[in-house]
């Protein structure tokens, strides 16, 4: 199967975007390895400017479960939401191949819902991170969790990814709108769903890497 011009250009755009995200994540790796690592027991960990924090000790809050230590649970839920919205996007593309307008509408709508839910989760995560857990929170210049660079990288990397999710939701909405008004049905194919689908999967792919390098390692 030959890739069309539009799909090919989307692939090359995504490759260039992959370079940008790689640069950001590698910057994280470099700055982290230039800081002292925490050496003691995980249970005895306290926040300090002296060493890089353990991510699971920073990200352990979940909405509505105040004061409970649930390390990485919320970010796990966010990962699951994004993977699910990627699945609904594939199903929309698949329905487009079959010229099934109703199914494309249904799956695009679920994809948009997934994207918006993810953005809502990220807004909560940011708000919690900024307000902190009693030590003054974090901003670009100060950080209760560890060295200031840690907070700056958190805002930069998850923010850049969140911006991608946001533009993805906007694009998904445009595709949904065009599907409902019958633009693609009259055109005779749903290739636009595929192109925007590529972008949306890429956003999911980047999150898989952010999840590993920022939250797990």
């Amino acid at each position: 199967m030959n890739a069309s011009y539009g799909k090919l250009m989307m692939w090359f755009f995504l490759l260039s975007d992959a370079f940008t995200f790689s640069a950001l994540l590698i910057t994280y790796g470099m700055i982290r390895s230039a800081h002292p690592a925490y050496a003691g027991e995980v249970e005895a960990f306290v926040f300090s400017q002296e060493y890089w924090p353990i991510p699971e000790k920073v990200f352990e809050a979940v909405p509505f479960l105040h004061g409970m230590s649930l390390p990485l649970v919320f970010v796990g839920i966010m990962t699951f939401i994004l993977i699910m919205s990627s699945v609904t996007m594939v199903l929309a593309v698949e329905a487009g191949h079959r010229m099934d307008k109703k199914a494309v509408e249904k799956w695009m709508l679920w994809t948009i819902v997934g994207g918006l839910t993810f953005l809502g989760c990220q807004a909560w995560e940011w708000s919690h991170f900024i307000h902190g857990v009693g030590g003054g929170g974090a901003g670009l210049a100060w950080n209760e969790y560890g060295p200031p660079d840690f907070a700056a990288l958190f805002f930069f990397i998850t923010g850049f990814h969140g911006t991608h999710v946001f533009s993805g939701v906007v694009l998904n909405f445009l595709i949904y709108y065009n599907t409902v008004t019958g633009v693609y049905e009259r055109r005779g194919h749903y290739e636009m769903v595929e192109k925007v689908g590529l972008y949306w999967h890429f956003v999911d792919l980047v999150w898989v890497f952010v999840f590993t390098f920022f939250y797990l390692v």
Partner: protein, 109 residues
């Protein structure tokens, strides 16, 4: 006003095997993420754990790019023109981690 045209569109029924494959891929991604969580809480941090995380992430990336983004089924030239430039990223990662630890040693020792 276009109803006459629209009624002529032939909706092809869904292929059960295709749909099943999509959900299978989703299941694999979910299971791999669950395994990552398991390692995050049962294993001490170190080079081995980091290697396992990176390995599992690459497997997940393979499924997302290959199945969801359909790259596995594209022409060979497209596959290689996406994959080969990523070699530079791998090198960049190695070079900058090396650079970072060298900064660490010159700052603290």
């Amino acid at each position: 006003m276009h109803t006459e045209d629209i009624s002529e569109v032939q909706v092809v029924p869904a292929d059960k095997a295709k749909i099943k494959k999509i959900w299978m891929t989703a299941g694999i991604l979910a299971i791999l993420t669950a395994i990552e969580f398991l390692f995050a809480f049962t294993m001490d941090a170190g080079t081995l754990r980091t290697s396992i995380f990176i390995g599992l992430t690459i497997v997940k990336a393979f499924y997302i790019v290959g199945e969801f983004m359909h790259l596995k089924y594209e022409v060979k030239v497209l596959i290689w023109s996406i994959l080969i430039p990523m070699i530079f990223v791998a090198w960049m990662l190695v070079a900058f981690i090396y650079e970072g630890s060298s900064i660490y040693f010159s700052r603290f020792f």
